[in-house]
């Protein structure tokens, strides 16, 4: 669980749940307590008014004058009952009818509260109080049906639970919305980073809350300094090559001097050495230039690049009347360095154009990354050489005029993009070269 959003969501949800549960428990308890207190107070008053209307005659008979008492004591199973007990006698209210209410005897001045079952399974709350009157000690118990109270409580709990559930739902929704709102700058930054990776933008938007702005600024600074460094090193490499190669041209011209011309062997040696140095320079400089996915790549327009390359090759091989056909699938995307892919395609196409009779076909498609296939109708390659081409050791053979260096650079580029290079006989009679490249940085 590394997402800030889910951390916040889960934390807040747990807090909310605990809070609501506590509230629910407290509320149900309080309500019960409150109602019960009311009932008990009422029942206690009843015992007192019963006491006031109680008479004990000389024979010890108990008598209640009903006139001032609730009529509910008269109606059978009304829900309000009393029991008066002395040592010898027990008097039941008429409302109890034939039910024998079990009551507790308590001492004088003692009060007892109990839940008992009354007639017809009525749940009763009973208050028993002990009194002493006219020389007799007795207990008065008044019980009331609290069915209504329990029903009321159940209703209350149900309603409260319902309201709570709706409340929780609303709160969770609100919370999710709020988290999204709060994290919006992060999502924005995330989208920006994705765009940066595929090269839609070259710097991320730094408008963000104080917490993440330094991060974005630093990222921009690093990207920018990387771009500048790469550009600068490419430039100085280019300048170095320019100087060295101009000097090498001068060496070649010394070989053209009449005094040297008379010694063809020396002349040839000079040419060979300048050529060898040139190859070293080209190989190393081009290898140093290969950048791979180190920079946020601009999406490379392969169709446009192939068009330009085939225009160029048509001019270079003017006398050959080339027919270069190329096809790029519409979904093809490559986010590496533009110069890398141009160097790769340029060298492979140049090889194809060099060996072909007239026809060179190029196709680019997306198959586990970028796949480029180049066919030519030239003489192709001996089976032996074909297998050697794919061997990495074949790179050592750079002294071969023409193809060696270009292919070595192609290998370097393919390697830096974690790619594959395959050679086989083409249907057109010549060589088929297949290049597989990662088309963008792995996520």
């Amino acid at each position: 669980m590394t997402s800030i959003r889910s951390r916040l969501s889960i934390g807040l949800t747990i807090l909310l749940a605990v809070l609501l549960l506590g509230q629910w428990l407290w509320l149900t308890f309080t309500v019960k307590e409150l109602v019960e207190k009311q009932v008990i107070k009422h029942l206690q008053e009843e015992t007192e008014s019963l006491l006031a209307n109680l008479n004990i005659d000389k024979t010890g008979q108990l008598q209640i004058s009903d006139a001032q008492l609730s009529s509910n004591y008269q109606r059978a199973f009304s829900g309000l009952y009393f029991v008066v007990e002395t040592k010898q006698k027990t008097l039941y209210s008429r409302s109890l009818w034939d039910f024998n209410l079990v009551s507790q005897r308590v001492g004088t001045g003692v009060k007892d509260i109990s839940y008992i079952e009354g007639p017809r399974q009525q749940p009763l709350l009973a208050v028993s109080a002990g009194y002493f009157k006219q020389g007799q000690q007795f207990t008065i118990t008044v019980a009331e049906n609290i069915d209504w109270m329990l029903a009321e409580k159940r209703l209350l709990v149900r309603n409260f639970s319902l309201v709570s559930a709706v409340g929780v739902l609303l709160l969770l929704l609100f919370q999710a919305g709020m988290i999204r709102q709060v994290l919006r700058p992060l999502s924005h930054a995330q989208r920006q980073l994705k765009k940066l990776a595929i090269g839609d933008i070259d710097k991320v938007d730094e408008r963000a809350p104080d917490e993440i702005r330094p991060l974005l600024s630093e990222l921009n600074r690093l990207t920018n300094s990387m771009i500048i460094k790469t550009r600068r090193s490419r430039q100085s490499l280019g300048n170095l090559a320019h100087r060295l190669k101009t000097q090498l041209t001068l060496l070649n011209q010394i070989a053209d001097k009449d005094s040297v011309k008379q010694d063809p062997q020396t002349r040839q040696m000079i040419y060979q050495q300048t050529e060898a140095i040139r190859q070293v320079i080209d190989r190393e400089l081009k290898r140093a230039r290969v950048s791979g996915f180190t920079l946020p790549g601009k999406g490379v327009n392969l169709a446009e690049m192939l068009e330009q390359l085939s225009d160029t090759l048509n001019l270079i091989y003017q006398d050959k009347r080339l027919a270069i056909h190329w096809h790029v699938d519409t979904n093809v995307r490559f986010n590496g360095d533009r110069e890398d892919i141009q160097e790769l395609l340029g060298n492979l196409l140049d090889n194809a154009c060099k060996w072909c009779q007239h026809q060179v076909d190029v196709s680019a498609s997306m198959e586990e990354g970028l796949k480029i296939v180049i066919d030519d109708d030239g003489p192709g390659c001996e089976v032996d050489d074909l297998s050697r081409l794919t061997q990495r050791g074949f790179r050592a053979d750079e002294s071969k005029p023409g193809s060696g260096l270009g292919l070595a650079i192609v290998f370097d580029i393919v390697e830096s993009y974690d790619g594959k290079l395959l050679f086989k006989d083409s249907d057109k009679g010549g060589l088929q070269v297949t290049v597989h490249l990662q088309s963008s940085l792995p996520d």
Partner: protein
């Protein structure tokens, strides 16, 4: 053939200039992009050899400016940067050929000759016409009879220009402009002398005089 060489290296430039002169190309040298651009526009060059790494203004800019003003003189680019990016940009800017440094002078001469042939609408290879075969490296000509004659520098330049512009009316001024380089003494009357010398070597029927206009080269153009 007049060639403009734009190359800033203080040693390579003059060296190349003299090598080209020796090969029968009246060559002017310019050492920076701004002068070079102006010269390319003013003088009637047959070909320009342009280095891309120039002070003042890059070779690519110079080339673009020429092409924008519809200066269609063939251009061969010299450069140390032979990444495909540079090749593509060079050809896109309007170059006719591309030679990476370091090169051998002979290689450059081969390219120059090929581009000149192409711009004259001729097929590549040895220059031959009307039974004459011109050997550009030895600066000699082989006649129909099989006889091989050595040519002086100016004779060679003149004959090559004629052969590359077969059937076209060429004034004395045009010939002078394309045979001599910028700083040489240009007297168009000298052309008559050289034309006559060529007639003596090649026979009288190949170069026809159009009175008051100039000369036309070729057997069937009388």
């Amino acid at each position: 053939m007049r060639i403009l060489l734009v190359e800033d290296d203080p040693v390579l430039g003059p060296n190349l200039q003299s090598a080209l002169n020796k090969s029968g190309f009246a060559t002017d040298l310019s050492e920076d992009g701004i002068d070079g651009e102006a010269m390319g526009d003013i003088e009637p060059y047959d070909l320009i050899v342009l280095d891309l790494g120039l002070p003042g203004q890059s070779g690519l800019e110079v080339l673009k400016n020429w092409r924008q003003r519809e200066n269609a003189t063939p251009v061969i680019i010299l450069t140390a940067r032979d990444a495909w990016e540079d090749k593509v940009l060079g050809f896109k800017a309007g170059a006719d050929d591309y030679l990476a440094k370091p090169f051998q002078t002979e290689e450059l001469l081969v390219r120059i000759n090929a581009v000149l042939r192409r711009s004259s609408g001729l097929s590549p290879g040895t220059l031959n016409s009307d039974g004459l075969i011109l050997d550009e490296s030895k600066q000699s000509v082989t006649l129909k009879s099989g006889e091989n004659l050595a040519l002086t520098g100016t004779e060679f330049k003149l004959l090559r220009y004629f052969m590359l512009h077969r059937g076209k009316l060429l004034s004395k001024t045009t010939l002078t402009e394309h045979v001599y380089q910028l700083d040489s003494d240009k007297d168009s009357n000298v052309m008559e002398v050289y034309v006559n010398r060529l007639r003596q070597k090649l026979g009288p029927d190949l170069i026809h005089t159009r009175r008051g206009q100039g000369y036309v080269f070729g057997n069937d153009s009388a």
